[in-house]
Symmetry: D2
Subunit: 222 residues, 4 copies
């Protein structure tokens, strides 16, 4: 059985490649990304997390089973109570104070992807929203897994080792796998084959916007 995620990925090969093999990712892998690009990315990623928490809050609201509501509410509190603090500490390690973070303006690429998925969350249903989030939630797992398992990767010398270990690590891989199987269970309840063409377009747009997010990091643009 092909998962829905696999089908979506296969329908957007070009965009998926441009996202997962983006110069930003390759530079992370080689350890050659400029420090200021990584810092710019980190600051925007912090602002991104806030919007992701809002997206999971929409998931709580849109779930029609208690178990789904609970799962989504744990994702919300996990971001707000844990991830954001970890992110603050990680930023601090890279010389970004919490004061600087709080004054950071959202870049256009950050606005574009986050408001895109939030708006899909409002105008569509739970499946539409999870598909819009997949390039981020599952995609980071795919990228992390690839980077950590590359035979050429010598993490001990890589300044971005922490990032790679985070997304290539077991915890995140589990989270991504759960998100992947949730796409299938949602599709089993809310329509599969008929919806594929529309879901592919959502996935394509989200994947392109994620690639733009890397580009924004690279360009240090707003």
């Amino acid at each position: 059985m092909t998962t829905l995620f696999k089908r979506l990925q296969n329908s957007c090969r070009k965009e998926w490649h441009a996202y997962t093999q983006h110069e930003f990712v390759r530079a992370l892998d080689r350890g050659t990304l400029s420090e200021s690009s990584f810092q710019h990315y980190l600051m925007q990623d912090y602002l991104f997390l806030i919007q992701l928490a809002r997206a999971y809050a929409i998931c709580v609201y849109k779930s029609d089973e208690l178990s789904e509501m609970r799962q989504a509410s744990h994702l919300v509190t996990n971001i707000l109570d844990k991830e954001m603090n970890l992110h603050l500490r990680f930023c601090d390690d890279w010389g970004i104070s919490s004061e600087v973070l709080e004054e950071t303006q959202e870049a256009t690429a950050t606005v574009a992807y986050t408001r895109f998925f939030l708006e899909i969350g409002m105008s569509g249903d739970l499946l539409d929203l999870h598909v819009a989030l997949a390039p981020c939630v599952i995609g980071y797992g795919v990228i992390g897994d690839k980077l950590i398992n590359k035979p050429t990767t010598d993490l001990s010398l890589n300044p971005f080792r922490h990032w790679i270990e985070e997304y290539g690590g077991l915890n995140y891989q589990k989270l991504a796998a759960t998100a992947c199987s949730q796409l299938d269970s949602l599709s089993a309840k809310r329509g599969g084959k008929e919806r594929l063409p529309a879901l592919v377009e959502i996935f394509r747009q989200a994947t392109k916007l994620e690639a733009q997010f890397w580009q924004m990091g690279l360009d240090q643009s707003y």
Copy 2:
């Protein structure tokens, strides 16, 4: 081919019967409904229309094709620019002034059904919303058609003749038929079989709330 509407109706026979054969409807048919019950119903129906216009506005927002957006926007303007004025005139014929109408409080049964479908419109997708509206939009057509075509119905003597002719008439029958085929085209795009159990529950609840709307008219309750 069985339409989605037919499937929904067949899955909720008991509730559908309680709604379409409600004492209020039978009294309309026989011409024995009390004038004050009909007036109470008319006033609440006016408030209902406002919420229906809001529901179609959600449809405009949630449509992903221009033709759908246009169709829904015409339903909005049709209610706001035509239907509501016809309703005002009809109320006037029954001795209800526009001043009285504007001061009328929404009855609990009116709040229950209208906020139910509006909330479904927000938490679900376009198909969920149209299913929640179907007992009203298509149901009134079914009831009107039945009443106008009954051999025993002598409309010339029925004080509610105008109402029966409105919903049994060609214009409304066309609108109901369009709504019916729209359910099928939406289902073809956004999932059919897999969604049926959840759609049935939405339809069941909406049908029960419509029956409560008749009961509220009968009881003249708030």
Copy 3:
């Protein structure tokens, strides 16, 4: 300084009295409420809690400060992870099994109030939503406080003692006080005086729907 809650209450004295002094409340107080009415109420209150969790999820989404998002997300998890289990146990004490609970249909009065506040949550802003919730969240505190402090109340003999102690108790009183001061802080940010007339109408409708909720318990109606 008069709190916003006080202003709302004073603008809806009649409805507030009808709600807080409802026959259901007086029968709770005297211990004379029929067991089956209380059971009916408990079952509907369980279904109500699910919708309240969804309302707080909307609050997470609609908050524009991290501290507000966190506060609302804790209310969501508190309901889903604690309150609902306590409610299940409480229902069990009253002879209602979790199987019965899960098959319980929402009564019209439950649909009316819950979908009313959820819809306000979508069409309005955070302040509108909190005002729509106030008759429930703060009102239960007002009622619990009154019942527990009545000199004539002999709780030791009252079969509904647990309920009265729950809402009259310190924990709930704190939660209600927090909700009350949150109304004021929201109003300070999102408009006060100008919005009062519209907020009063939301509060009035919500209060009436809460009275209908008691009535539904009393009548054991659906």
Copy 4:
């Protein structure tokens, strides 16, 4: 009396200047904008219009007075039934067929601004939404008015004459003036002074995203 729009504009002078005096605008004025940049802009503007119609549909839903609902619904039908056809014809004049238009992908800058205001429309109230739209709706009026009244502007030789006459013309100026006074009447109902800091931030972000929209036209970027 200073209008709300004026206050917002004065609070974001730098961003307002960067938007209204953007190189794209100056090149329109001078008639020196490259044809392909203008074509790129026109195609994205067509996609923008669809999202603007959705925003006005949210306005219909969020209005709490019939007159407001009607006004917003006329803006929806005006875009869907008139503006879009005019735009198609205008695009055709510039050599862009409707087939090309329909296959055009949304640029990141288009996604960013449109989803930003739609999401504000969902998470905030009617006033938040109208403030997020103001840089577009009122801003185009300001820009059009400036261009058409410049003593140095010789429209007869300007290839973008049609665009300048459209937004500098009486019809659009009236529409912008109505939008401007609507901001004030909404503020009178839904809060003014207290909300200003938050409204300024919405206006600032929207203005920056509009400037990015010009930049996207200039760069012919996606």
